[in-house]
C-alpha cells in the first residue's frame, strides 16, 4: 500500500529561525511529489517535484527531492508569523495522489 510519512508532526519556532520539514514515501511507480500550505481552509500549492525537476525554490521556501532516499525536504528560511500553517506533502504514484499527515508549523514572534 502506498504510504507518505511527514515529520515532525508539529513544530514551534521563533520568527527568523530556519525550519526543515521532512516527507518520506513508499509508492508504486513514483511520478511526482507535491507540497501544499494549508492556513485555514483550502490548501494552496507550493511546489511539484519530479524526476526531471528535483529542486525548486521560491523566495524563502525551497524543496529538494531525493529519489534515492525516497524523501523530500521543505526548507523555510527567515521564518515569519505568516508561515504558520499546516504543510502537506503528497506523492503521485500509479493509482492516486497520497497525502501525508501534515506538519503543523507555528512561528512565534
Amino acid at each position: 500500500e502506498d504510504k507518505v510519512v511527514q515529520s515532525p508532526l508539529s513544530l514551534v519556532v521563533h520568527e527568523g529561525d530556519t525550519v526543515t520539514l521532512n516527507c518520506s514515501y513508499e509508492v508504486t511507480n513514483f511520478r511526482s511529489l507535491l507540497w501544499y500550505k494549508q492556513e485555514k481552509k483550502a490548501p494552496t500549492f507550493l511546489f511539484m517535484l519530479t524526476s526531471s525537476g528535483i529542486e525548486k525554490k521560491s523566495g524563502r521556501l525551497s524543496s529538494i527531492l531525493d529519489k534515492k532516499e525516497l524523501s523530500s525536504i521543505l526548507n523555510i528560511t527567515a521564518t515569519q508569523t505568516g508561515d504558520s500553517a499546516i504543510y502537506l506533502c503528497a506523492v503521485g504514484g500509479a493509482q492516486k495522489l497520497v497525502f501525508g499527515q501534515g506538519t503543523r508549523l507555528t512561528i512565534n514572534p
Binding site: G92, G93, K96, L97
Partner: protein, 113 residues
C-alpha cells in the same frame, strides 16, 4: 482563469439525516474531480474521484456516495449520517489525474451531532 466553488461552508446535522455537499468548477472542461476528508490533526483522505461524467471511483467503503451529473459538478451525499462522518471535506480538481497539481475548494466543515 479556473475557479472552484464548494458549499455549504459549514453544516451541523443530526445523526441519521441526509447530506449533500456540492462542488462546481469554472473555466476548464473535463476536469478530474476529487472529494477528500480531513480529520482533525490528520492529512487528507481521498474519498472519491471522477475522470468524467458518471464515472466515480470510491477509495474508502462507507455510507457516503458521490455523483457527477455534469462535467464540472461533483456532489457528495449520504442518506443517513453517522457521528464518524464529522470532519472537513474538501473538493478539488486537476488537469492530470492523480499526479498533477490539485486545486482545492474552500472546504465544508460538517459536524454530526
Amino acid at each position: 482563469s479556473q475557479t472552484i466553488h464548494q458549499w455549504p461552508a459549514t453544516l451541523v446535522q443530526p445523526v441519521g439525516s441526509p447530506l449533500s455537499l456540492e462542488c462546481t468548477v469554472e473555466g476548464t472542461s473535463n476536469p478530474n474531480l476529487y472529494w477528500y476528508r480531513q480529520a482533525a490533526g490528520r492529512g487528507l483522505q481521498l474519498l472519491f474521484y471522477s475522470v468524467g461524467i458518471g464515472q466515480i471511483s470510491s477509495e474508502v467503503p462507507q455510507n457516503l456516495s458521490a455523483s457527477r451529473p455534469q462535467d464540472r459538478q461533483f456532489i457528495l451525499s449520504s442518506k443517513k449520517l453517522l457521528l464518524s462522518d464529522s470532519g472537513f471535506y474538501l473538493c478539488a480538481w486537476s488537469a492530470s489525474p492523480h499526479t498533477g497539481e490539485l486545486f482545492f475548494g474552500e472546504g465544508s466543515r460538517l459536524t454530526v451531532l
